[in-house]
Every structure is written in structure tokens, then in C-alpha cells.
Amino acid sequence: MNRSLSFEVFRYAAILGALAITLIPILWMVSMAFKPIPEWQATGDALTWIPKAPTLDNFRFIFGESSSNLIVALDRTAAKPILSSLLSASIGTLIAMSAGTAAAYGLSRFGSGANLPLALIQLRLFPPMAVMIPVMIMWSFLNMMDTWWGLALIYGIVTLPFAFWLMKTFFDDMPREIEEAALVEGCSRARVFWRITLPMMRAPLASAALFVFILNWSDYLIALLLTTREWVTIPVYMASLSSSMTGQLYGAKAALGLIAAVPPVVMGILIQKHLVRGLTFGALKQ
């Protein structure tokens, strides 16, 4: 369709505005992560947008290296929280994807577990806050409080709906002729699933896994309630980073925030075309 020049001008102006609003908060944090202490806050009326003396001190600091600029010392470094986030998010993803993929296949092909779609949507609907009391009681009973495996288990359950729904729509979309051909050749159904279907679904599986990982990695509330010290995740650790000596450790927190923000953004861009499907439980495909 022919569009007028004024429309194009308007479009670019609007998009540039949106880009600015989108990027300013992100760039501010990036900039902060590389600023030395004196530039953290406005002195007088001069606010530093681009670090005048860029430094990696903030990153060194959160990994425990003493810095001439920061007189405080951390009682623990960011290493363990990063490990905790990685372990709990990936094992949680593994749990969600295994149970979700298997169940999605069972429903898509054999009509088993017809209760699951609704049950899982409901699971997603509930604010985690509203089920945390019993979960905390159960987790202490099972000695899973403040452990990465305890977190992994709850993450696996919380993101199971996404894994299940995503994989269900992928299986529903998959042509069945190849599976049927293999069945005619005498393969058992279990073998068809393992040897034919799963290898064919490698790309969708990867997308779904990345999607689920992003969700797990992004959690704050659950980790806040289920971890206390040993296995706190990055967001919990970040929130606790402050010191009576220096107030908010802006630069250090920004550095940590940057570390936390990069993986999901990169992954999200990788699986761009499946984002809509994932976010709408497969109701929409892009």
C-alpha cells in the first residue's frame, strides 16, 4: 500500500521515541556498572551520563577483589549466588521440560491427561505468594529450604505449564505421517517417541527450554522466600547488597544487574519467533 511521506516521518519519530524510552533505563544501568564511586551520584548539578573514568572496579568488587575505591568488604561474593541462579534455573528447566514434554506428547498423541491443560493454566494463574505458606512448610519438612535443589524443584513446577503448553502446540503442529510410517515399520510407540519424534523436535525443544529458563532465571519472589543465605540467587543477593558505610552500592548493584540481565535478553532474542506462542500458552502463533 502506498504510504504518505508524512506517515513515514511520524512512524520513525514515534519509533525513535519508543526506542529512547526503552533504552534509557537499560543504558543507565550499563553506564552505572562501569562508573567509579565519585560518579555514582550527582555531585552538585552534574549528572554523569557516560562514565568519565570507566572502570571494571564494580565487577571486581562483587567478585570479592578489594578495591581502592570501595572501603567496604563484602561478607560474600557474587560467585555463589550466580552459581545458585544457574543451578536452580537450569535444573528447574530440566524438570519442567522433561515432565512437560512427556505430558504434552501423551496428551497430543494418546489423549492422556486431559485434565492437565486446565490444571496447569490454573497453576500459572495463582500468585505464587498465595501458595507459599504450604510450600515453605513442605520445603522445611523435606530439608529443602535454602538449597538450590529445593529452588530447582519449585521452579520446575512453576514453569511446567509453559513447558507443557509450548510443547503441546509444537506436537500438535507436527505432521504425524513420519511417526505413522515408523509404526507401520514395526517400531514401538515408545521407540517412535524417543527415536523419531524427539530428534525431529530438537529446535522447538531448544526454544521452549530457553523460554522456560528465562522464566526461572527471572524469579525473585520464590527465591526470596525459600532461600535465606547459602543459596540465595542473584536478584536476592543484589537486593541485599548495601552497606551502612556507602549506602546503596549503586555501581556494584548495576554490575550485578547487568550480569543478571544479559542472558535472558540474549536468549529472548534467539527465540523471538516463539515468544508469542510461549507467552500466550500457544493460543497464538507468530
Partner: protein, 319 residues
């Protein structure tokens, strides 16, 4: 009858005991495949719900000095549920949650729809702009909360930009003022979740057949008429889904908000999730928390069933 995908109704047919039928094998495998998910769902729903119900009828607290199974000793004759009705802080928190919802969801919807309209056809730079614009929703919410915490400091960039726009120094303490803190929290939510609306609505918008748009144009329909008569009706289900998702998520709002204000100043930005979090971790009145949680679950379940029907219809439309 082909071998795969035996529909449910066939499984209920009486089965021969002599030779295993193909459906038999599928049924067994289907059962085994769905078992782990079923166990996980039961593990997180049935038992916790019963436990929650049980505790909600008592004054039990982790400080009670007894294990939760003995909570019946602290039976309180539904006092938690009667307290709940007169709990002003709860109702205020609910009110604030709804306020965030009725402000943020429409704003996100309109901004998202506007952006989606701009992206409906091809233009140079579309892909890269698109990738950048959807970034906020992938930022860890807690980190987003911290970003906006920094932005809204009195010596922070927001005031800096306002100062240069207005020409006079602005040193507003955003997060210490009850009203401004609420605005700041909403801005953060809109920043993070407008991209979600944009993403979903754009997917719907490109699904509107171009030929129909052209046909409408040729029949004399103007842009607004085309939008009202062709685009909106075709996107109805999608819009409902997008709104439902955001309404649900808005109801749960916690991470960004808690990092920015901690519910404060005072209780000025205390939403349902923040309130529950606080009474769970600070007041430790778990019996009461369980009662509130259960009430919320019941209300939301009703909403969920309604939403599911919509979703099912949306998928039916696409089949």
C-alpha cells in the same frame, strides 16, 4: 481407524483381553508419559491446598512452638476469615493492586497497539527496532526494579531530564512521596510490559488478511473505519488474551515494585503480594495468611475457568 492418536472415547470401549490392541499400547504409554506432570501438579496443588485450608482455620504460626499438624489445638472458629473482612490494610492493598491494574493495563494496551500498528507493514530497520523494543520484557523484573530505583533517585536521571526540559532544577524525591512513588511504580510496570502487548498485538495484526484491508479501502472505508470494522473484530480474541494475561500478571505484581519501594513509603505502594509477603515474613501470622491466600485462590479459579473457555475458543478459530 489409524493406529495413532486414539481419541479418548475409543479408550472407554470395552477392550478385548486376548490380544493387545494398538490403542492399548498408546494408552499405557500416554499414561506413563503424563504421570510425572500429574504427580508434580498433585504435589503442588492437592496437598498444599488441604494444608492451607487446615492452617487457615487456626492461629498457627511458625513461632507457635509446635509442628503444623498439631495446629488444630489452636482452632479459632473461622476468626481468620472474619478478620479478613474487616482488614483495612488488606482491602487497601487490594485497592492499590486494582489501581495499578486499571491504569497500567489500558496504557500498556494502547501503547502496544499503537506501536503494533506502526509495525504492521515493512519498512527499513523494522527487525532491529522490533528486537530492541521487546527487550524490556526480558529483563529480569528485579533488575528492572533496580533500574527504575536508580532512575527515580532525587539525584537521578529522571529529575535530570526533567530539569533540562523545564529549565529549572528538579529534585523530586519520587520514591519517598506516596503519590509519586505509585506513579514511579506504574511507569516501571508500563516500561516493562508494554512490549508484551506490542508483541502479542502485532502477531494478531499481521494475521489480518491484507486483501481484506485493501477490499475495505476500495469500498471507501477510511483508516479508522477499517480499524473498527476489519482489524478489531478479527483481533477480538487476541486482544482478550493479551488483556487477560496482563490482568493476571498485574494482580501478582511484586518484584519490580518491592525492589523499588518495598511497598512504601509507609504502605503507599503496598499491593496484595507485598502485603502477604510482609505478613508472612514479618508478622508470621501464617494461619491468617493462609486464609487470605485461599480466598484469593477461590476468586481467581473462577476467573481462570472463564479465561480457559476463551482460550479454547481462540484455538478453535485457528484450527
Amino acid at each position: 481407524m489409524t493406529a495413532t492418536a486414539a481419541p479418548l472415547k475409543d479408550l472407554s470401549q470395552p477392550m478385548s483381553v486376548t490380544a493387545p490392541k494398538p490403542q492399548d499400547e498408546g494408552r499405557k504409554l500416554g499414561f506413563r508419559l503424563t504421570l510425572p506432570a500429574q504427580v508434580l501438579v498433585l504435589f503442588i496443588s492437592l496437598f498444599p491446598l488441604l494444608m492451607q485450608l487446615y492452617i487457615s482455620l487456626t492461629d498457627w504460626s511458625p513461632l507457635s512452638g509446635m509442628a503444623w499438624p498439631r495446629a488444630w489445638e489452636m482452632w479459632n472458629n473461622f476468626a481468620n476469615y472474619t478478620d479478613l473482612i474487616s482488614d483495612n490494610r488488606l482491602w487497601s492493598a487490594l485497592g492499590r493492586t486494582l489501581l495499578v491494574m486499571v491504569v497500567c493495563v489500558p496504557v500498556e494496551f494502547l501503547l502496544g497497539l499503537g506501536l503494533a500498528t506502526l509495525f504492521a507493514d515493512d519498512f527499513p530497520g523494522k527487525r532491529i527496532f522490533y528486537s530492541i523494543l521487546i527487550m524490556p520484557m526480558m529483563v529480569v523484573p528485579a533488575v528492572a526494579g533496580y533500574m527504575f530505583y536508580m532512575l527515580f533517585q532525587s539525584g537521578g536521571p529522571v529529575n535530570d531530564i526533567l530539569s533540562s526540559l523545564l529549565g529549572t532544577p528538579v529534585t523530586v524525591a519520587w520514591l519517598s512521596d506516596p503519590v509519586l512513588a505509585m506513579i514511579a511504580v506504574m511507569v516501571a510496570d508500563i516500561w516493562q510490559w508494554t512490549p508484551l502487548m506490542f508483541l502479542i498485538l502485532l502477531a494478531g495484526l499481521v494475521g489480518v488478511p491484507e486483501d481484506q484491508m485493501r477490499a475495505a479501502t476500495l469500498l471507501g472505508a477510511g483508516p479508522w473505519q477499517r480499524f473498527r470494522t476489519i482489524v478489531l473484530p478479527r483481533m477480538k480474541t487476541i486482544i482478550i488474551i493479551a488483556l487477560a494475561i496482563r490482568v493476571i500478571e498485574c494482580f501478582k505484581i511484586f518484584d519490580t515494585l518491592y525492589i523499588m519501594t518495598g511497598g512504601g513509603p509507609g504502605v503507599a505502594t503496598e499491593t496484595i503480594s507485598v502485603y502477604i509477603y510482609k505478613i508472612t515474613t514479618q508478622d508470621l501470622i501464617w494461619g491468617y495468611v493462609a486464609a487470605i491466600a485461599l480466598a484469593i485462590l477461590v476468586v481467581l479459579s473462577v476467573a481462570c475457568v472463564w479465561a480457559m473457555k476463551r482460550m479454547a475458543r481462540a484455538q478453535g478459530d485457528r484450527a
